[in-house]
Subunit: 333 residues, 2 copies
């Protein structure tokens, strides 16, 4: 019997803020499995800030979504039919064919995942690209030393909440910036973050950061750009390191550079943009460390789960209005 997949397509590109009408749901009848192929029922798909950039025209570090075609992104699911000798019905897998409830994939595009000790959706968060970005950016670019002060923005987000916790594990003083009191409580009460700044309560972010870090910051892990980056440059100590991971505040609107860019010279700052997928040589080390931290209870995670493929566009847009605590996920089927 032919299998029908429900898919989200990009109907047209946004100008300014993205909205629901740019997406459409399409039913596609999948062909029969060829040899070496696997049919996966997706259980969770990821929405991530970088996807907003892919809705625009023009190459960035990853090709834009095509108008009129199904979107994609990280997803996890179970094998429901296999024509490949390596995969069996019931196997848990991760892959990059999200934004649909069923995916027909070549076995080479699947990664088997172990869900005995962690949830399947952990592979979209702490054990997936967000976790790797936190691990790589903090430990391979910023290289914080015990006793140093680490500032992280979007500190209750998928990446930021892991940066904050890894920094604590390394003996750092951690300052996190968030946009709501609920997020602030999570960081303070459960993750042990030393000072939390709710930027919505602060008329002047630089003043707030200076108060939180009277001796300056040594690391700024940037997830938002804009005023946060500018304040971090202003409060940085000499030789501070800034892994630049995302600029979520700037994806929907024209970007503004930090007006204090000269200070990058005066303080000998390092600003290093990075994309985790360019550094997959660190993946095995990351997986090993992060798995241990999670199973030993040293890292805790939260998820904001939205139900149903239909809700995926709103889930994506919600990332930019701060709807999520921890990893934003869409549960499918």
């Amino acid at each position: 019997m032919p299998v029908v997949a429900r898919e989200i397509h990009l109907k047209s590109r946004p100008s300014g803020l993205a909205s629901r009408h740019l997406f459409s749901q399409v039913q596609t009848t999948l062909p029969a499995l060829a040899s070496g192929q696997v049919l996966v029922r997706n259980l969770f798909m990821s929405v991530d800030p970088y996807m907003r950039g892919r809705m625009n025209e023009g190459e960035s570090y990853i090709a834009p979504f095509e108008v009129g075609a199904v979107m994609d992104g990280a997803a996890v699911g179970l094998v429901v039919e296999s024509a490949d000798s390596q995969y069996f019905v019931g196997d848990a897998v991760s892959h990059f064919s999200g934004w649909r409830d069923r995916a027909l994939l070549d076995a080479a595009n699947l990664t088997p995942i172990n869900i005995e000790r962690v949830s399947i959706q952990a592979y979209l968060g702490a054990l997936g690209l967000p976790g790797h970005a936190a691990f790589y950016g903090l430990l391979h670019i910023a290289k914080p030393k015990a006793g140093e002060t680490v500032f992280v923005s979007s500190a209750a987000g998928a990446v930021g909440s892991l940066v904050a916790q890894i920094a604590k594990l390394k003996g750092c003083r951690v300052i996190g910036s968030v946009g709501s009191e609920a997020k602030a409580r999570w960081l303070r009460d459960e993750l042990g973050v030393d000072v939390v700044i709710n930027y919505n309560d602060e008329p002047d972010l630089e003043v707030a950061l200076r108060r939180a870090a009277p001796e300056g910051i040594d690391v700024y892990f940037d997830n938002v750009g804009g005023a946060h980056l500018e304040a971090a440059i202003a409060v940085a100590n000499k030789f501070a390191r800034f892994p630049l991971c995302g600029m979520v505040g700037q994806y929907n609107s024209p970007a503004v550079g930090p007006s204090n860019i000269y200070t990058v010279i005066a303080k000998s700052l390092l600003l290093q943009g990075f994309i985790g997928i360019n550094h997959l040589d660190t993946w095995a080390d990351f997986t090993q460390n992060m798995s241990s931290w999670i199973t030993e209870g040293l890292i805790s995670t939260r998820e904001t789960i939205v139900d149903g493929l239909d809700s995926a566009p709103e889930a994506l847009m919600g990332l930019f209005s701060g709807d999520n605590v921890g990893k934003m996920l869409v549960r499918l089927g």
Copy 2:
């Protein structure tokens, strides 16, 4: 007989553009030499862009000049009187008590220099802090590989002209930006720079840079900031390295950050601000290499010399209107 030194003092701080009336000339009678002291007649003093920042209030990487006191900076001269066993009359020395024609110094603050094979004023340029900044920023931060494309701004300046030549020695394709046709000719005809952009002839620097570097740039050595930095980010290849050495375009006016700062992430760019004096561990290696390059004729230098201590303020201000080809120097006495 008491020795009288003529000195330039900072009379008041600038608001906006610096001008002549902010400086005054003062005659000071020097005390007799104490044991361990040396009297130096300065032959040349350096004016450098960073000095403009020191005229403002507020700590940067170096303390501001004091109002009502003598300014300072790199200078070279000859010992005319010595109460120290290491120095003899006629010895050539470099030190940091410029902006005066005679300097009374503790021997510990002098560095003996060898002027058998190079001019004394080379120690303010290619063999001084400008040379070291070029050497350190290019070879220790950017680490260009043969065949890569290096873009340098202020390419006819004290630092930039050395960056361009060292990059050529390393087998790179070099693009230099300058503000006059005379400077462009020097780079093209004598220094072997591959493409010279005269930014005063270009309505759109990014377009000009794209034309000069159809395959993108791998290194941008920034001396000016502003539109140059923005264009370099736009035309950079993935993993390009940007040593940030100066932002001479921004010292006299409010700074503007690069509006395409997000591209730093998308292209995984490295922006590293630096101040040469923080990396004096590389000084011996620099001196050895640069001396060889100069004496072997592999590096050539030019100087713009202004005569007389009285002219030093104009020489400093001239750095910001592009008056100098190569190193700007003031000849004293």
